[in-house]
Amino acid sequence: MIVAFAVLREMASGRAWPIIAFSSAAWALVIGLDHSVLVPSLCSPNSTANWIGSSAFVAVISINDLAAQTFSWFVMLLAMMTPLIWQQLTHVWDRSLAERRVRAVLLFLGGYFGVWMIAMAILALLVVALRLAAASGIVAFVIGLGLFVLWQMTPIKARFLKRCHRLRPLPAFGLSADLASFRYGVEISGSCVVTCWAIMLLPFTSDVAHIPMMGTATLLMLSERYLETRDFCLPTPTQIYGCLFRNRKMSDV
């Protein structure tokens, strides 16, 4: 966790400060928004606990304002994910002609958040299924937590975490420059989704602690993003934290 705060401090005091400012504004919006918008009513224990079958999905969709949900997901992603991609954003900025920098960054973000929004829709369906299957909201959260812990220890997760650091060559001119920026956003987002989908279950399945859980998930993602990654590991009881978050030197975190 200390790593996450150190990274945020370094970003805020350096050239990445606009990213921190942008993320902070999104966090303000997240907190300022009505909680029922951010946390769909399908996540409320009273609304779904007794529903079963496909009609339940229809009901869930019908009682939710999809536009508001989509907007809340987008704001949530802006708040949580922008600090994670500062390395890529500065890469796109530095490797673009000055006149094209803003466009290149927007195209990168378009690709990045486009993939994440699709992933969020799939995650929402997974959460609905969880909530329909679980006896209560607490049980759904515990199942989500279990999935998160298991996923953290898989080699696939470790492999894709490393891929989140990829820096791609970006052409300077014309349509190929635009396409490369967009494609790069899609590629990084794909790695991010595979790496972080399970951790995103935590805020999705927590009702009252939705925003604190978002904050916790963000700090965890930042920590593991900037810790040295390892391959698959099976932890001993004393190594659980280190294995979960892939750090080599536990005393540093």
Binding site: H91, A98, R166, Y226
Partner: protein, 503 residues
């Protein structure tokens, strides 16, 4: 009194006392178990380690017991490259090695003030300076015993004088430079714990890298970070790199080490440095602990300035002034349009380049506006040594270089597109790919981002006069100078050119 590290050839005959004891001590350390902290192999693995490579080269048997994982995580694979920790970590590492060796030498009846020699391949006064010192080549020592300083997997016997020339290496005043942008410092960019990074400092880029590649040769120990410290010449090479840090630091009062606590206190985010003394107990080894060689107990016999106090800016302006006086150049080209220090992309090529046994060319296309801004920076005031600043500097980046063999050394030559066919072009410099294998592993810590190599091409661009009205492209030719093969699969992801203003 501080021990004195001396240039190996200044010590006299091949098997002088210092070299004699070095060889004897290496001979004692080599047979020790790899689990012993004072063994040759343990010390080498502290730099970097690859079990398969060590087995292949005969430095490890498949059944041999290694230190426990936690111990490896703490002490092994610490080397700092492409980082502002490059100088200080290697200094602390050399000191650990030297202290252990001196202990062994004393136990054998050798001198208590024994100090590691260094190899100054850049000494222009000595025509033999670029040759690997004789003691590392001979089959036997002067007493007829097997020479532990000679290794089979070392295939180079000299280095190219151009690659160890210090003119463009220590003339800058910046230690750090600008991370991820043109304008690199002498010491390397700000990083966290960094066994392999992207951008390297001027001294690491050369002479450090090419000496590794050229001395090691294809498949040689020195050519790979995981095996380099197994070769006894490694330590003399790095003693010289350590000396160059002192030469740079003392040659100009403006040359300062970083004062940022993140540098002084060393890395903490991933791992911390873990180095020890002759008693094998950990000791403080962060940059703040190793800034003064005298405080550490040693000095160098020669840290005189090979550039006689001149600066990079002065050398450039002198050359420009001479060209203005000879009417090759006019100084009234324009007025700067950008006052703030800034870096920006001038242009790039548009396709990946594959390097092989033959030379390859790739065309860099420039955008008109930034090229015009560059040209307009050649004003009278900026070309005058009496006023601060200078015209824009220009940097060539070879990015995302991946491949399977890091011993390759290449010359980089620039050609104006309107140059007559067969013209020689202007040499921009050379690149050495030390560390390429590790940087290319897609599932490794480097995630396959490869190496980035930066060459300052300001002098070449000054000479070529890139006028936006005439020249909107530049051909970059990359010529292999070593045994590079097609199966090495070396690719350069992109070639970009940046300008840096406001200096």
């Amino acid at each position: 009194m501080a021990r004195i590290r001396k240039e190996i050839r200044a010590l006299g005959e091949t098997w002088n006392e210092t070299v004699h004891w070095y060889a004897k001590a290496v001979g004692v350390l080599k047979p020790k178990l790899v689990t012993q902290k004072s063994s040759w192999r343990y010390l080498a693995a502290m730099h970097d380690f690859d079990r398969q490579a060590w087995i292949r080269l005969g430095y490890l048997t498949p059944t041999e017991t290694l230190p426990g994982q936690l111990e490896q995580d703490r002490y092994w694979m610490q080397c700092q490259h492409q980082s502002w920790y490059f100088f200080p970590w290697h200094r602390a590492y050399l000191l650990t090695f030297e202290d252990i060796l001196r202990g062994v030498i004393q136990s054998m009846g050798g001198p208590a003030d024994w100090a590691l020699p260094y190899w100054n391949y850049s000494d222009k006064k000595n025509p033999a300076a670029t040759k690997v010192p004789e003691a590392f080549l001979e089959q036997t020592m002067h007493d007829g015993s097997v020479n532990p300083l000679r290794v089979a997997a070392r295939f180079g016997t000299s280095v190219d004088p151009d690659d160890v020339d210090l003119t463009d290496r220590i003339a800058d005043k910046d230690f750090i430079g600008i991370d991820k942008s043109p304008g690199i410092g002498v010491g390397g960019p700000r990083t966290i714990f960094s066994p392999h990074g992207h951008q390297e400092g001027l001294v690491e880029a050369a002479p450090h890298d090419p000496v590794h590649g050229e001395v090691g040769g294809r498949g040689g120990l020195m050519s790979n970070t995981t095996t380099a410290a197994l070769d006894p010449i490694f330590w003399l090479h790095h003693a010289n790199i350590d000396r160059l840090w002192e030469v740079w630091r003392t040659r100009d009062p403006l040359n300062k080490n970083p004062t940022d606590p993140e540098w002084l206190n060393g890395p903490t985010k991933l791992r911390a440095f873990a180095l020890f003394g002759a008693d094998e107990k950990d000791r403080p080894s962060n940059p703040k602990d190793v800034q003064s060689t005298t405080a550490l107990g040693y000095d160098y016999d020669d840290i005189s300035d090979p550039l006689k106090g001149t600066t990079r800016r002065f050398m450039r302006l002198e050359a420009l002034l001479s060209r203005v006086q000879n009417r090759e150049f006019t100084a009234e080209l324009g007025v700067r349009s950008m006052a703030m220090p800034t870096s920006e992309l001038l242009g790039s090529n548009d396709a990946e380049v594959t390097l092989g046994p033959g030379s390859v060319k790739s065309r860099v296309n420039f955008a008109t506006r930034p090229l015009t801004t560059l040209t307009n920076s050649f004003t009278k005031s900026l070309m005058s040594a009496e006023t601060p600043g200078e015209p824009d500097r220009v940097f060539l980046h070879l990015e995302n270089i991946r491949g399977k063999d890091g011993s390759g050394v290449f010359d980089v030559v620039l050609h104006r597109p309107d140059a007559p066919p067969g013209s020689a072009g202007v040499r921009a410099g050379s690149i050495s790919l030390f560390g390429l294998e590790q940087a290319s592993q897609t599932e490794g810590d480097h995630t396959g981002n490869g190496l980035n190599k930066t060459l300052e091409i300001t002098k070449a661009v000054d000479a070529m006069k890139l006028d936006p009205a005439q020249a909107k492209t530049l051909d970059v030719e990359i010529i292999p100078r070593s045994d590079v093969r097609a199966e090495d699969d070396i690719k350069v992801g992109q070639i970009t050119v940046h300008r840096l203003s406001g200096q």
